[in-house]
Symmetry: C2
Subunit: 332 residues, 2 copies
């Protein structure tokens, strides 16, 4: 019996509203074994929008050879881009990843209004993920960010390995701050701080956010992107909220991870995040029942259960139709 | 590469040390399908002590018919009770559950020095778990607590369903405070606040702890017992630490749950807890590598992987011998 749960107990010093940056269709599906057809991805994005999500990372314009799962970007994006044209609160932001100018050209040609570049706080991961040094990656992003801004597009900078690295171990805070500063100087509107291997703990999160503020980067331009490899993602999110962060990345049903990072076992599940936020009385605009039903549906397409604890707990009732069915009106 | 991880970043306002109340051998195994032989349980407890845990709930003196998994209490307890006789910091507290005077007699006869009674904040669960009303359960505990205290034994009072109930839904804070007050008045030294179905969120935790303080129950007498059904256990623990709680219940490898509570999917894993606490610079006395190796060993006995995320992340290296093996000195 979960009606009325979680009970809402607002806590002092937390934001009234959080923007969830949903990464399931891109970061999540990118790391699934099953190749999902473009029409199923489009349906997934529409269902996520129907559940109230208003920022949904749609796809990635990397070279199709790099990430076969996302090779259908040219088919997928036009199939959902009308969501961005909706009026007012119904409009859905649909950011897409672009690694270079070629990717930017493809994204802009399809009408993308927000893009994201993806850097690394460590040399090891820059090499593994982009086959470049950190400096070379930033040099590659420079014209991408400049031209995106000229075209009026918003730019997010992802930064991986902000807390630990699978090859280098601990990552010093000042090293992360240095790369963040350079991404901001390139013109990124927002930075997403990635704990790609999930090793962060709440005090580390607070220390990094504080150091970024001291380097002149305001909290309003920072988002957090936690992985649940060691079960820490939600506790880390709580620390970030206490610091004033209001944009949190998560993946519906906990889809995804990172194929190039050893032992990365998946993003924070959007449902687990929403359970906590609603319990804290924080507005997200999300209908948890519809979101859970969407993840149950997607898990069915992938042929395996959702790794989200909340989805598994709520799944027995989430298999009911996402929309009112005639049966539910029988008693009226 | 996890050497040096998690990095320790102490956060303001948190305790310097936390006592982990390990419930794996009792609460964990009680809810496993596989009946574990007494000698394996004793070995489990010794390995947990070897990993640095100093409070290990050993077993339960309920009627053997109620919980067949714990019907070997008379054989198990004497097989580990020497751990309580160790000197100084090496001494291990070995609390045991007792539901009634008959159970108390059995526990005291074997030399138990700490017992726990287990009440419910809700009528529905009191009926399901003890076949009694809340009042009748408290009346049953009254002579148990009084006689335990006379015998010089410490008494913990467990309270289930402190945040939500599978039949009743939301549980009002004042209802929980009322039952806590009565358990303290009976003479319980410590109360363990159970989120048996895992629905709590951090603000709810803070609200309950604050209300208990206002009712005259100091934080020093309160422990928290969170379940990870909705992935909230560690975030809730963080809220409790911020409130000053220094005793946290958890289960090695995330063993257990509650067979009488719908959708209860397991206790907070001790390893996930230790990862966070060590990351916060909080002393636990626990060697995470040895603890993980213990949970991997126990999972092998149970024939299934550990549900702890930290255990799964660290398992590839935890399958190495817990102690130095001759092979590891080959290069010397």
């Amino acid at each position: 019996m979960t009606e009325g749960l979680p009970m809402a107990f607002p806590a002092e010093g937390l934001p009234a509203r959080v923007r969830i940056h949903e990464v399931g269709p891109r970061d999540g599906l990118q790391n699934e074994q099953t190749v999902v057809p473009a029409e199923v991805k489009a349906e997934f994005i529409r269902r996520l929008a129907g559940a109230g999500l208003r920022t949904i990372e749609a796809t990635s314009f990397v070279h199709p050879k790099w990430v076969p799962q996302l090779a259908d970007a040219e088919r997928l994006f036009p199939a959902v881009s009308d969501l961005a044209d909706r009026e007012g609160d119904a409009a859905v932001r649909l950011p897409v990843l672009v690694p270079n100018e070629r990717g930017l050209d493809r994204a802009l040609a399809l009408g993308a209004r927000e893009i994201a570049v993806f850097g690394s706080a460590t040399e090891s991961f820059a090499r593994a993920n982009l086959n470049r040094t950190v400096d070379e990656a930033l040099a590659m992003f420079e014209p991408v960010v400049a031209r995106a801004k000229e075209a009026g597009a918003g730019v997010r900078g992802y930064l991986s390995m902000c807390f630990g690295d699978p090859w280098e171990g601990p990552v010093p805070v000042e090293q992360v701050v240095g790369v963040c500063r350079r991404l901001i100087d390139l013109g990124c509107d927002e930075l997403s701080l990635g704990d790609t291997i999930g090793v962060a703990t709440p005090g580390h999160v607070t220390a990094l956010l504080t150091a970024l503020n001291e380097a002149g980067i305001p909290t309003g331009r920072l988002a957090v992107h936690f992985h649940d490899t060691y079960g820490q993602a939600l506790a880390n999110t709580l620390a970030a909220l206490r610091h004033g962060v209001t944009t949190v990345d998560s993946s519906a049903g906990g889809l995804g991870g990172c194929p190039y990072a050893k032992s990365a076992t998946g993003n924070l599940a959007t449902e687990d995040l929403v359970w906590m936020l609603h319990g804290l009385g924080i507005d997200t605009g999300v209908d948890l029942g519809r979101l859970t039903a969407t993840s149950v549906w997607m898990a069915g397409r992938l042929g395996r259960p959702s790794p989200s604890r909340t989805v598994r707990a709520l799944a027995p009732r989430a298999t009911a139709p996402a929309q009112d069915s005639p049966a539910s009106h029988k008693e009226q």
